[in-house]
């Protein structure tokens, strides 16, 4: 092989590797920096106390109320978006191909679901703010935040579930139909189980995505200093908003809480993602 080609190959390989390192550097730098700034403030007290009655100069107080709020808001978003999204995905893969009319409708739905994955989160927040808070007079609440997050989650859920359902071999459905099982039983007892692991992973990733959203919370959950267990009782805190609020303070104790909150938030999101991978392994279909 001529030396020139070999040199070019080596150069290309080196620059690809350099690009990978360049891509990983900022990502690692972010994590390392958040860890360094966040660890000093991350104490059991921080994780178990709210901000109720904490003055601007006080060093105590924590993110407990915000963690609880985020879990509830994300839980509400899941309960709303997952069944609906799964149903849409089932329509796209199971009913969509059955007739020309359905095929046309499915194509439109698929197109708009794809387009909706790019919906800016602040637009979702604006939508729920005017629809739920202003038009329906429901006030700020964890539920309103859950609705906004559900709007953001829905297209991701549909996409993921559809991709996984498409991968289920057609033979499997036909085999079930051949035994006389109706379509709906086939879907619920054969198709969904076969796609189980992929769907679970996709859902967890969707959850991780929306758990870190700040912009919609500012317009829907509003924020609250004390523990509010009920998501419908009024304004509620959320972890991303906690970080944003605390980082805007003039005083050092709040800045430390902001970094500790950022670290907690990353921990929560990364924890969910890792859990998704583990669950995916646990629920992998037998034949894999």
């Amino acid at each position: 092989m001529p030396a020139r080609r070999r040199t070019r190959d080596l150069l290309a390989r080196a620059s690809l590797l350099a690009a990978l390192i360049l891509a990983l550097v900022p990502l690692v730098a972010v994590l390392a920096y958040v860890l360094r700034r966040g660890l000093p403030g991350l104490s059991p007290d921080f994780l178990t106390h709210s901000m109720k009655g904490v003055g601007a100069l006080d060093t105590n107080g924590g993110a407990y109320h915000a963690i609880l709020g985020t879990l509830e808001q994300v839980g509400i978003a899941m309960v709303l978006a997952v069944p609906l999204g799964l149903a849409v995905a089932i329509y796209l893969t199971e009913i969509g191909p059955t007739s020309p009319a359905h095929r046309r409708l499915a194509a439109w739905i698929r197109f708009f679901v794809d387009v909706m994955t790019g919906l800016p989160s602040i637009v979702a927040g604006l939508f729920i703010f005017a629809f739920w808070v202003l038009a329906l007079h429901q006030g700020f609440s964890g539920l309103a935040a859950g609705l906004a997050l559900a709007v953001l989650m829905l297209p991701v859920v549909v996409r993921t579930c559809e991709e996984m359902l498409v991968l289920v071999p057609r033979d499997l459905r036909e085999a079930a139909w051949a035994t006389g099982a109706p379509r709906w039983r086939t879907v619920i007892w054969v198709v969904l189980p076969a796609a189980g692991s992929g769907i679970t992973t996709g859902l967890m990733l969707a959850v991780a995505r929306v758990a870190g959203e700040t912009a919609p919370l500012l317009l829907t959950a509003f924020g609250y200093d004390a523990i509010r267990t009920s998501p419908v009782a009024g304004p509620q805190a959320g972890l991303p908003m906690f970080v944003y609020d605390q980082s805007g303070s003039a005083f050092a104790p709040a800045i430390e809480r902001a970094w500790a909150g950022a670290l907690t938030l990353i921990g929560l999101v990364v924890g969910l993602t890792v859990l998704a991978r583990l669950l995916a392994r646990r629920f992998r279909p037998l034949g894999d």
Partner: protein, 325 residues
Amino acid sequence: MTTTTPAAPPTTRPARTPLREGPGDRLFTWAVTGAGISVLALIVAISVFLLSQAWPALAQAGAGFITEQEWFPDAQPPRFGIAALVVGTLISSAVALLLAVPVGVAASLCVVELLPRRLGRAIGQMVDLLASVPSVVYGLWGFSVLVPALVPLQRWLDAAVGSFVPLLHSPSGIYGRSLLAAGVVLAIMVLPTIAALCRESFLQVPRAHREAALALGATRWEMIRTAVLPSTRPGVIAASMLGLGRALGETIAVAMVLSASFDLTWHWVEPGGVTIAANIAAKFGEAGMLGRHALVASGLVLFTLTLAVNAVARLVVRRSVVAGR
């Protein structure tokens, strides 16, 4: 797009449809069809609401909404427009793409083609994981670490080429929280998205194509150039467009990093400029009645912009899928 649904493969097997279609099935079909239609209803609801809330502002501003470079919707008389917002949004997103696409493509090529499979998969998963680092964290980090670190680079850029490339010149001699800095933060944020989608696309190239190229005596780089890149171009374009969609709509990180002054600026390295999303976050708290309508109107522009970008991306992918079949 109605032609894009793949035709059912010809088959002669007996059970192409269920043998029994009972009342349960009819209910099932209705239910999931209803779910599907609810997605369309949702997007219509979002559009209708945004339009109705934006209307008072749009009616007030008229054509000035496109051309006006200032944002004083609550002044008497109100004057506001999206010219500066759109320019700032496009510049910061362009910077992000200029940086993130080459790096993302090269990094995912490295993961797929060069690294051992196991290591590649581990690194790929790590990058996925970083895609879910919340934007408020990127904002905090960008403001306190990245912006100071970028000042010398921006000064150097200006000194080196600023005299004949006005884009990279800072007339005021101030550097720091500029559109370039916002673009770099956005690049870091969209990089995982672009890399993950490119990786998926590269993984779909049949092994046989690669082996054929290698068997003909191609080096690894030549194999990548001839067997992998051409067939995955639509995938790479779509990944870039989706990255662009994310960059256009990113709110909190830009609001925290950019020195958002409301002016139409072409100078990438000078503090200033503003994006649609960051402007909404910054102005919402102090906006009056018309001010809120005006912000919703700018949100409508953002919505339309991201809708268009995503639509184009999807059409590129769909066409390539159809062509590939």
